[in-house]
């Protein structure tokens, strides 16, 4: 027998505590739901694949300092030797590391001329081993051949006449066409320099994980004639750590005219690049837990207080025929009513806070289903929190009704 009517009317005559708890529930729901949404978005972002073999890859810097140091010779020798080292699957020189935070970007456009806008793209300069070393998949067209690879000088502005681009980049450049039809088409870099797309790779992320066009990347067939450069090495599965040690020792000994530094695995790089996101997730999770606990304790407190205050009333109800179950239900239902006010208010506040976050911090609008889920969760939190005090109320002896104090 539900007694929503009288419970509600009794609440309305005694509402301060109930209203405060309802507001607390509303605020908790608002913050929790928005936090969960932000956490979900961040972890989705963190789970995106970079396209490279992260588990087995690492990179390092080689900086020549000796008078006699010859970058071209050194790079050729290093790569040839690295590719022969046991445990190394493949190795390349590269100008920038995916998801590392630092790199080069250019704009590509489908029509020549300064008056046309380009599509931003991350540039990776690699030789014909680039596709294999980065563990990419060519899904249309073909890889570079050794004869495509040229040397880039430090102040050079000119670009090679071929490029490989990601599928996302192909779709950004030619939004109306299937991506594979981009092969053979000419695009322009530096407004007017033509490049022919000779291949499409399925996926390769830019160095900047927070960039909204992080999937736009291109491979340029070049080695860099730079004294300070980077090597990217993919080890055979499971051998990365031992290979890292061997590579460092080998490079240090093979040419004493340079120093090897900044060796780092891609796994560590990912961890560093997403450190802000994982910190945000931890902070929000902590805030959520604390808020939920505080709200639950608030509910326990209010319910315990009102059970104690109404001991006589509970005994009287028992005397008038309430079973223990009926007393339990009374307090559960009372909490449900308070929580309902809280979660509906919370639903409105949740949308309000989200609108604010969308406008102020460029967040995405919350998916609608977060709101009913949040409501149900807070209803459940409320019911769990009130269960203890309600059980206590149900155990109050009916004989208390006749006690005269």
């Amino acid at each position: 027998m539900l007694e929503i009517g009288p419970i509600f009317r009794a609440l309305m005559r005694n509402k301060v505590g109930a209203i405060l708890i309802a507001i607390q529930i509303a605020i908790t729901m608002t913050i929790i739901v928005n936090a969960v949404f932000i956490i979900y978005e961040r972890s989705q972002k963190m789970q995106r694949e970079s396209g490279i073999d992260e588990a087995n890859s690492f990179y390092l810097s080689s900086a020549g300092f000796a008078e006699s140091f010859n970058a071209k010779v050194s790079i050729k020798e290093d790569l040839a030797a690295l590719r022969q080292l046991p445990g190394v699957a493949n190795a390349i020189q590269i100008n920038a590391i995916p998801i590392s935070g630092g790199g080069w970007s250019m704009g590509l456009q489908t029509q020549a001329g300064a008056e046309y806008d380009g599509v931003g793209v991350a540039v990776y300069m690699v030789d014909e081993h680039g596709v294999d070393t980065l563990d990419l998949e060519i899904i249309a067209g073909e890889n570079f051949s050794p004869s495509d690879i040229g040397w880039r000088e430090t102040a050079q502005r000119l670009w090679p006449d071929k490029i490989i681009i990601t599928k996302s980049m192909a779709e950004a450049l030619f939004p109306d066409d299937p991506f594979e039809t981009a092969v053979g088409k000419t695009v322009f870099i530096n407004d007017t320099e033509p490049m022919v797309i000779t291949g499409i790779i399925d996926k390769l992320q830019a160095p900047w994980v927070g960039w909204d066009r992080v999937e736009n990347a291109m491979l340029s067939p070049e080695n860099l004639n730079y004294e300070s450069t980077r090597y990217f090495i993919r080890a055979e599965p499971g051998q990365r750590d031992s290979v890292m040690k061997n590579v460092e020792e080998f490079l240090a000994e093979s040419n004493t005219g340079r120093i090897i530094r900044s060796m780092r695995s891609i796994e560590e790089t990912r961890e560093r690049s997403y450190r802000g996101d994982s910190a945000m997730i931890k902070i929000l999770t902590t805030v959520m837990i604390i808020l939920t606990v505080v709200t639950a304790l608030g509910i326990v407190g209010l319910a315990s207080f009102s059970v104690n205050r109404r001991k006589k009333q509970i005994g009287t109800r028992r005397a008038l025929g309430a079973s223990q179950g009926a007393i339990l239900r009374y307090f559960m239902l009372e909490n449900f009513l308070i929580s309902s006010v809280g979660v509906f208010l919370g639903a409105a506040l949740t949308v309000g806070l989200n609108v604010l976050l969308v406008n102020q911090f460029d967040l995405d609008p919350i998916d609608w289903f977060y709101i009913p889920i949040g409501m149900v969760i807070l209803w459940i939190v409320g019911q769990l929190a009130v269960f203890g005090p309600a059980k206590k109320a149900a155990n109050i002896a009916p004989a208390i009704a006749t006690r005269t104090v």
């Binding site: 027998m1 007694e3 009517g5 009288p6 009317r9 009794a10 609440l11 005559r13 005694n14 006589k312 009333q313 009287t316 109800r317 028992r318 005397a319 008038l320 025929g321 309430a322 079973s323 223990q324 179950g325 009926a326 002896a397 009916p398 004989a399 009704a401 006749t402 005269t404």
Partner: protein, 233 residues
Amino acid sequence: MLKMTEIKKVFRTDLVETHALRDFNLHVDEGDFVAVTGPSGSGKTTFLNIAGLLETFEGGSYQLDGEDVSHLNDKQRSQMRNEKIGFIFQSFNLIPDLDLFDNVDVPLRYRGFNAPERRKRIEQSLDLVGLANRMKHLPSQLSGGQQQRVAIARALAGEPRFLLADEPTGNLDSKMANSVMSLLQDINDRGTTIVMVTHDQELARQAKRNIYVRDGKVSELHEVSELPDAVTA
């Protein structure tokens, strides 16, 4: 109707055992109006609590309306209280946050009556105690005598066979006490069996039968003049 034989009740705390009832024997017939008197602490309330199934007992047997109640579980006892027993308390025990209508409604909801049936009974019983025009008032807006009348209406709304009252006039002045007493007599005249604990000799004398409790035992008194002085202590 109400038959207690050799009932024992002991309250145990860490330090003391209180024998509140020892071999308590009582027979109440249908339609009777019994006034229970006795010194403070003699076990009157304990007897009433056991009679009203608010409390369990240790030895002896208790039959209510022909049914042995000792084997009933809490839920069955609650249901029996709800259907067969009406309670009236010294401090009225109205629910302060509910208006008179909702107060009288409390036992009817536990009974499971539908809304029109409940409304009819609430209106009838408030009418019986002369407060039908105050249905939307809160208990705090009434005098003590009026509050006790509401409590009586609440006890009667479910048409119980028994009315158990623990010092129903204890918190009332004598004028109000007398009007409550005459209301109880009207109710008894309509067939409801009443057991009333009281300190008030005057009121006890107006009941059909008096019993005197001392040290957890009954000594029946037919002649009011036999009442010892200690009763008013």
